[in-house]
């Protein structure tokens, strides 16, 4: 497998890979997301307790789950970058972090908006909520560290280390509902045994999760491309490519 992956560590190959993958990710993300949201918002039955306000679940849960998933992806990229000294992986860290921060922010925001009708308050300092907030700060820390360095090479290595160290927070977020008695819902769909959610609500939710995952992937790929171009701007392959584009335009 490593033999097969290794060529993609080269920036120009990585760029080419991004270019091929991007449309697939983008199109399928849009399709699946559209299906999921329309199904969820328009056709799924209203909750017997919560009425229609539960429909925010189709935004909240995917973004919350993906905020963590994205962090894991970022940490994995950081790990690869540190251990195998792959520059592209370092760049991936810098590319992924802002996407993850936005997802986390959406999760927080939708959660707060949902909390108002459900718990009667926007915010409580309970473990799940706080740890999700901390996740946002971890993302912000990674971004701030990266931006503080003038030397981006140095900056992306440093932020990679930071991303790895922050991984401890992930299990805390996930298990917070079990370790402390909180207001927040316990595991509903991420239980392996039998999801405690009706399948008519579950399917659109799963679609939304998948769709948002693909969309996240697409955004990360897009940002990675930009990062590659910016960081490699003095390398011949970028120059050649830009030249080619110019000629095409003419």
């Amino acid at each position: 497998m490593w033999k097969w992956l290794h060529p993609y560590a080269k920036p120009e190959r990585a760029f080419a890979l991004c270019t091929t993958l991007l449309p697939w990710f983008g199109v399928s993300a849009l399709l699946i997301l559209a299906t999921g949201t329309i199904w969820g918002l328009a056709f799924a039955p209203a909750d017997y307790q919560q009425g229609d306000s539960f429909r925010i679940i189709y935004l909240h849960v995917p973004s919350a789950i993906l905020s963590m998933g994205t962090y894991s992806a970022m940490a994995i990229a950081a790990f690869i970058g540190l251990v195998w000294q792959i520059r592209t992986a370092h760049m991936a860290v810098a590319a992924i972090a802002p996407v993850g921060a936005v997802l986390t922010f959406i999760a927080l925001f939708t959660g707060a908006a949902w909390g108002k009708p459900m718990w009667g308050t926007w915010w409580v300092w309970d473990a799940r909520l706080t740890s999700e907030l901390i996740l946002l700060f971890l993302y912000l820390g990674v971004i701030a560290l990266y931006q503080s360095f003038e030397d981006k090479e140095q900056g992306s290595k440093a932020s990679g280390v930071m991303a790895l160290v922050g991984v401890v927070n992930l299990p805390i977020i996930h298990y917070s509902v079990e370790w402390w008695n909180t207001l927040h819902q316990g595991a509903t769909i991420t239980k392996f045994a039998k999801p405690s959610i009706d399948s008519s609500m579950l399917w659109p939710l799963l679609l939304c999760i998948l769709g948002l995952a693909l969309l996240t992937g697409a955004m990360c790929l897009y940002r990675l491309q930009n990062e590659l171009l910016r960081r490699e701007s003095h390398r011949p392959w970028v120059r050649a490519m830009l030249l080619e584009e110019e000629q095409n335009a003419v």
Partner: protein
């Protein structure tokens, strides 16, 4: 090799002794923060007891931030760090020695005055013991993780706020478990579980952060 590492330790201790004034700062902050709350909340022993452990922990977290910057900054500026990196010793071991020195000189004093503070905050005896044990296991973790953060921001000079942005989120899990241990103790429940988790985090940090710190230090040199 241990002899050589002991050299690092001795040097740090000698330096700390020279720069007493700078060491005082975290301690004063610690005392100030802790005395602030009884003043702010009023002397109700019930509330004080409730918030006491949390306050001590938060104060310990924050005051450890104060001295943290100094961990590598001076060595970086005067070139001692370069000499350490070329000493033929594994850098992560050197980092460990420095962290140990930092803990001994700027955290241990906090622990030493904590009985006094516990008294101040009306902590019951089991609460105090659980607090102290938590601090004993948890503060080295702070120093270890803090060292990584400092090393990461070393190339920047504008440590201060950025450093606390990086570190505070990392300290949160520790805070959660440590205070929940004291909570358990206050209800006469066993708190081995929480301590075990803190211990596990400490061991994990002990195994991993010296390497991360060493790596970050290398980055700062290029």
């Amino acid at each position: 090799m241990t002899g050589r590492l002991a050299g690092v330790l001795r040097r740090e201790l000698a330096l700390a002794y020279r720069q007493k004034s700078e060491l005082m700062q975290p301690i004063i902050f610690f005392v100030l923060v802790i005395s602030l709350f009884p003043l702010g909340i009023g002397p109700g022993p019930q509330t004080l007891q409730k918030i006491g452990p949390g306050v001590i922990w938060v104060a310990a977290l924050l005051s450890s931030l104060l001295g943290m910057e100094r961990l590598f900054r001076e060595d970086f500026n005067d070139g001692w760090l370069e000499q350490m990196m070329l000493s033929g010793l594994p850098l992560s071991l050197l980092v460990l020695a420095k962290v140990l020195a930092h803990w001994l000189t700027s955290v241990l004093p906090l622990l030493l005055i904590s009985p006094l503070l516990a008294l101040f905050l009306n902590l019951s005896e089991p609460m105090f013991w659980s607090l102290l044990l938590g601090l004993l296991l948890g503060t080295p973790l702070l120093s270890l993780v803090g060292a990584t953060g400092v090393a990461l921001t070393l190339g920047l000079q504008r440590g201060g706020v950025l450093l606390s942005l990086l570190l505070l989120p990392l300290f949160v899990p520790l805070l959660i478990f440590a205070t929940s241990a004291v909570d358990a103790a206050s209800m006469q429940l066993p708190y081995n579980g929480q301590l075990a988790i803190i211990g596990a985090m400490f061991l994990l940090a002990l195994a991993l952060t010296p390497m991360a710190t060493a790596y970050a230090l290398r980055i700062s040199q290029s």
